[in-house]
Assembly symmetry: C2
Homo-oligomer: 482 residues x 2
């Protein structure tokens, strides 16, 4: 893929974050706009990151006893409306199919905004006895929600790639455990592969999933100081099993309504890693999910081309054999300078420069994308050094992001201080909350910051509610968010 | 997954093929009906077969230089209608979105019946020069076509899982080569993994893909004598590059319209392997794509349960270590007879029975699903024997299916003989064809058989057209088909 815009980014990350983000995504060839507003297309370079995420999660899901299934994209309105809160939450953004060919269809059909209702109408048929439990199924598909707010590639689109997991359990405790198992899998993916640190905890009741008993979530902090919800894992209680009649015959020979969970992450994760790690040159991809981990650029005059390229191909082959995703850029029609810019824009974590002088010295030159540092390396140590540098880069990205998170974690003691942080700096603002909806709502109306997460770790909870001054029941993280 | 219907199949394959098929699919837990007519859901056991197919193809596609991408499911009507023949072909079965939330949307949006038009409107932006070619992208998604004919799980559904590949080339020859590369990959998958023999060749002009220059296809023969199109690979010529303005600047510094291909296979392949290999007991899955390759059933009285199960678990662990997909059925609430029936219905290729007497003799008993043959085996040779039996079963399924194809391959010398074969026996009927549309159409109207494929292998082409008696230009395979 060779996007027509091959020039570099024209804005700096800290000057116009929104425009920087759009350029970083489009110019790197991660996504492109589709003909319908709010929809995007993924060229291979962008889709490959999703494939990495999918592979990592799929393995973890299967290891923990989940299996994949398939559900159709169309849901009859009568099913979607069976759980009232759920329907009310989604209906403003549902796409409706009303015709097939020339004919009006009878009942209109929703394009899946999420599949709880469809899945559970089927699960009710599959489950009769305790022997059928637990049932733990995941679906890799897309969800469709007509977005009215400003759309942004990966972060807010009217169709998005995601996975949605749906489980059914005999007991409330087992469902609780499942919610946390999944949250742990997500946290591991996001921190240890995408190198984005997150805070985990509960959503407040106003922000929980429509129809859930409670929602747990992982909240990340973007470079512009806004929060981004990275994934959610919901305890549905019996809120769906009752309207959908998901019952099982227990060992006690009595019928019981089952307990359920649902959970998902989407390609929004790709948006997060762009926002967190990218710089003025473009993307900086974490090695573990980078489609190309090492790019080799041969540097030569015309007359030396074949010799240098041959050495470059040898290096490519050695690295590939070691399982490193490597690309040798042997194009003659571009200068090496042009290539450097392009691969930097695309965020390839490690570059190898090799020219005639390097070959004579039996060396190559590494260039780290994250620090721009140049590191000479003896040819025989190349594979080992590349592996070790990739691990170092992966680690450094997480360390940098953690540092940023810590530096942008504030504990105001007054509401006016709270407001000035939200308005002037952004970041995660930790404050006490009395658990009253009025305070939550007023803070949101007055500052634009809502409760992103009520951290599991409640150590250091402030004594008083930042808004009303009454006793704080919870420490809450407030932020403006995407 | 434990479907409520656990009793065996109630019809025989050769008595009521259609009902047999439906029962085989539903009772094995491969698919279930969705709430909207014509749509199905896949429980994990069915989806796992699609995952195998996907994995096999994905690897081959990537090895041959293809990459995956993502396209949205919604296509504006104006784009879909840009290539006239194509639009006319699909429009009767298109699902239309006309509303989002409460609002009418402007231009109505089609749910992807196939993505040529959407993909090519994007490719036109991505391609400027010969350096951007070839462009070879594959999409794993679903297509939606409102089916009016009788629907059948996997074979004809209003939404189906598939892959669609789309490539762009500088020359006609390169596109031709691509068409055949893909056809070879499909043939290898279908014959060597799904164990279904196919005949490859061209579609007649009346049967080719709407908008294609020509279509190549792979045709299989089902056990009831009907043909089934297993996959297609199309040469699109410049039929789309012209309306979609896909041009590239050549090395000659002139602009040229590009040459294109598209190709796909769907979950219909799962339907084919059920039809071809299944028997009166249910499915018979080819080992290479079976979600469970070996099932172990411990046979014991209550008092011996733990000892026997422990040995069964040892066997399970040994087989898994050898990379064999194995399941130990340790459920206490079912008899071993009940388990035998269930796993036979689910088509697991190889069963291991192990009881106290086997343990004392240091043996196990294998039971082949394809031949029902029982084979004793010394415990130390178990892993090796299981691998070798699985290979034998895989081979035997293909051999049997090839035999059936040969036995049901007819060469009538008169049209009345042709008709009686089509009407009384079914099968592939090889006949000469003058290449006139009238003859093709009359045969179809009078017998229900159409030209399934014009085989690449034209050896033994009959001299005369089976219908009009004029000189035959092609040997054609006729059949009634799904």
């Amino acid at each position: 893929m060779h996007p027509k815009e091959s020039a570099g980014l024209t804005v700096k990350k800290n000057e116009d974050f929104s425009e920087w983000y759009t350029q970083a995504v489009l110019k790197a060839g991660l996504a492109d706009y589709a003909p319908v507003k709010g929809f995007i297309v993924l060229p291979p370079y962008g889709y490959a990151i999703w494939e990495s995420i999918r592979e990592i999660l799929d393995k973890r899901f299967k290891e923990s006893g989940h299996q994949n299934g398939f559900l159709p994209v169309l849901i009859p309105e009568s099913l979607l409306s069976k759980e009232e809160d759920h329907f009310a939450g989604f209906t403003p953004e549902v796409f409706w199919v009303t015709k097939a060919g020339d004919k009006d269809i009878g009942e209109r059909l929703a394009l899946r905004p999420t599949s709880e209702t469809l899945a559970y109408s089927i699960f009710a048929k599959w489950i009769t006895s305790y022997r059928d439990l637990p049932l733990k199924i995941n679906f890799w598909n897309t969800a469709l929600r007509a977005e009215i707010k400003a759309t942004k590639p990966f972060i807010r689109t009217s169709e998005f790639l995601w996975q949605e997991g749906h489980t059914v359990h005999a007991t409330e405790e087992e469902a609780e455990k499942e919610v946390m198992t999944i949250l742990d899998i997500y946290k591991d993916l996001i921190e240890n592969y995408l190198a984005v640190p997150v805070v985990t905890g509960f959503k407040s009741d106003s922000e929980k999933f429509v129809g859930a008993k409670y929602t747990t979530s992982l909240e990340g902090l973007m470079s512009d100081g806004r929060g981004l919800q990275m994934g959610t894992s919901h305890h549905l209680g019996q809120n769906f099993s009752k309207p959908f009649d998901i019952k099982y015959l227990g060992k006690d020979t009595k019928e019981h309504f089952a307990w359920q969970t649902s959970w998902g992450v989407s390609w929004r994760l790709i948006g997060a890693l762009i926002m967190v790690h990218g710089d003025d040159k473009g993307l900086v991809l974490p090695p573990k999910v980078a489609p190309i981990q090492v790019v080799i650029v041969p540097i030569h005059k015309d007359k030396d081309a074949e010799g240098v390229k041959e050495k470059a191909r040898e290096i490519e082959s050695d690295l590939k054999k070691a399982g490193i995703r490597t690309h040798m850029d042997g194009r003659d029609e571009y200068t090496s300078g042009w290539k450097f810019n392009e691969w930097e824009m695309k965020g390839v974590p490690l570059r190898i420069n090799i020219g005639l002088r390097d070959i004579e010295k039996g060396q190559v030159e590494f260039v780290r994308r994250d620090t721009k540092e140049k590191i000479p390396c003896d040819r025989p140590k190349l594979v080992e050094a590349a592996s070790s540098l990739l691990a170092t880069i992966q680690e450094n990205l997480l360390t940098r992001a953690k540092l940023f998170l810590n530096e942008n974690n504030f504990r105001p003691s007054t509401y006016s201080e709270f407001k000035s942080i939200v308005e002037e700096r952004g970041g995660f603002v930790v404050a006490g909350w009395c658990e009253k909806v009025e305070c939550e709502k007023k803070i949101k109306d007055e500052t634009g910051a809502d409760i992103r997460v009520l951290p599991f770790d409640q150590r250091g909870k402030p004594a008083k509610c930042i808004y009303c001054g009454e006793e704080a029941k919870k420490a809450a993280i407030f932020a403006r968010a995407y």
